[in-house]
Amino acid sequence: MVSTDQQEAFIRLVDQHRGILHKVCRLYCFTDTDRQDLFQEIVIQLWRSYPRFRGDAKFSTWLYRIALNTAISDLRKQRPPTTPTSPDQLPTELQDIQYSGEKEQQLQLLYTAIDRLTEVEKALTMLYLEDKTYQEMEEILGITQNNLRVKMNRIKDKLRKMTKEATYGIG
């Protein structure tokens, strides 16, 4: 039985880290409904696993594991939309943030490119952008650091190529 204090502590922690959850949902789902469903599912799974959280790992590491495991395992939500994501479509999570024109464009390009990556590549890219060390990435994903470096270099090349194609209309 979970006490009210634990429930409050859990809600506080999730609220503090909700940015991570929204980003995971944004990366792994293509529609708002799917994003909302995935967000709910991750919160439910976090809550169910919370009594077993002993603090051996950082809360954020534990949260990343559950969020990514839930997102990757639920393959129904990963179907791409029938029409490709428009670069003009700004995710709802970003609506209250005003960036300068160039930054906004870069972010939109990034999202569009990430949408075309595989599920594993998305996870790696997200952790990299969150400035996680390779050791932390290994703790979350279970991929060796050497392999992570190789994969990351490949993803960077891939993203560079995709942007070039989008900018110059190649491909």
Binding site: I11, D15, R18, R65, S73, D74, T118, Y128, D131, G142
Partner: protein, 209 residues
């Protein structure tokens, strides 16, 4: 686009709407809609259907017809017990199917392994259930032939010598079981095949250098 240059912009991204206590609290009471939770729910529904259908039937054949068809009750009881074993095994597999707080790779490996065992067991159980029921039916009714008296329903329906009817039953069962095996394999593949394949692909991608 250089990923390193985008770290700052990415980390500045904050969700527009606060999840807040009020919106998070109701989620804690909700049931999971994940694939394993759905499989677990389906299994519970299956169990409930068996209980609802079998118990009245067992009681009916036990007390009706002056107890002459008690053999059917016995048959249903045996099948019910077999189903309990089937439920227990499936339920245990589902309980170990995922570890969401584990590393992503190990969770995927666990899911692939358990799901394969789950589908193998499902195929075996669904293939043998009908031949097993047929053989049990035959044994139960055939044993009654040795009871003295007016003879059993089976004896009246099939007055041929026991070895003849046994051979006919077996000859009918073998092709039927083969057809059932292929049908079940197709059906299970349709249910879980794509999911397993996708999980294997993810695992392969994680491992390749």
């Amino acid at each position: 686009m250089e990923l390193d240059n985008l770290k700052g912009i990415w980390q500045d991204v904050r969700p527009g709407m606060s999840s807040g206590r009020e919106s998070l609290l109701p989620l804690l009471q909700q049931r999971s809609r994940g694939p394993v939770a759905r499989m677990r729910r389906n299994l519970r529904i299956e169990l409930l259907c068996i209980i609802v259908a079998y118990i009245p039937l067992i009681l009916f054949y036990l007390v009706e017809f002056q107890g002459r068809l008690r053999a059917i009750s016995l048959l249903l009881l045996v099948v019910g017990a077999l189903f309990c074993a089937y439920y227990y095994r499936k339920s245990r597999l589902l309980n170990t199917m995922q570890c969401l707080s584990c590393q992503v790779r190990s969770n995927l490996a666990r899911q692939v392994g358990t799901l394969k065992r789950y589908t193998r067991f499902y195929l075996l159980a669904s293939t043998i259930v009908i031949p097993a029921m047929a053989i049990l039916t035959y044994i139960i009714f055939h044993l009654q032939l040795f009871y003295p008296g007016e003879g059993t329903v089976y004896h009246r329906l099939s007055p041929a010598p026991w070895w003849k009817s046994s051979t006919v039953w077996l000859l009918m069962l073998v092709p039927f079981t083969v057809v059932m095996y292929y049908f079940n394999a197709w059906y299970i593949n349709r249910l879980y095949g794509r999911h397993i394949k996708k999980l294997q692909e993810l695992l392969r991608e994680m491992d390749e250098e």
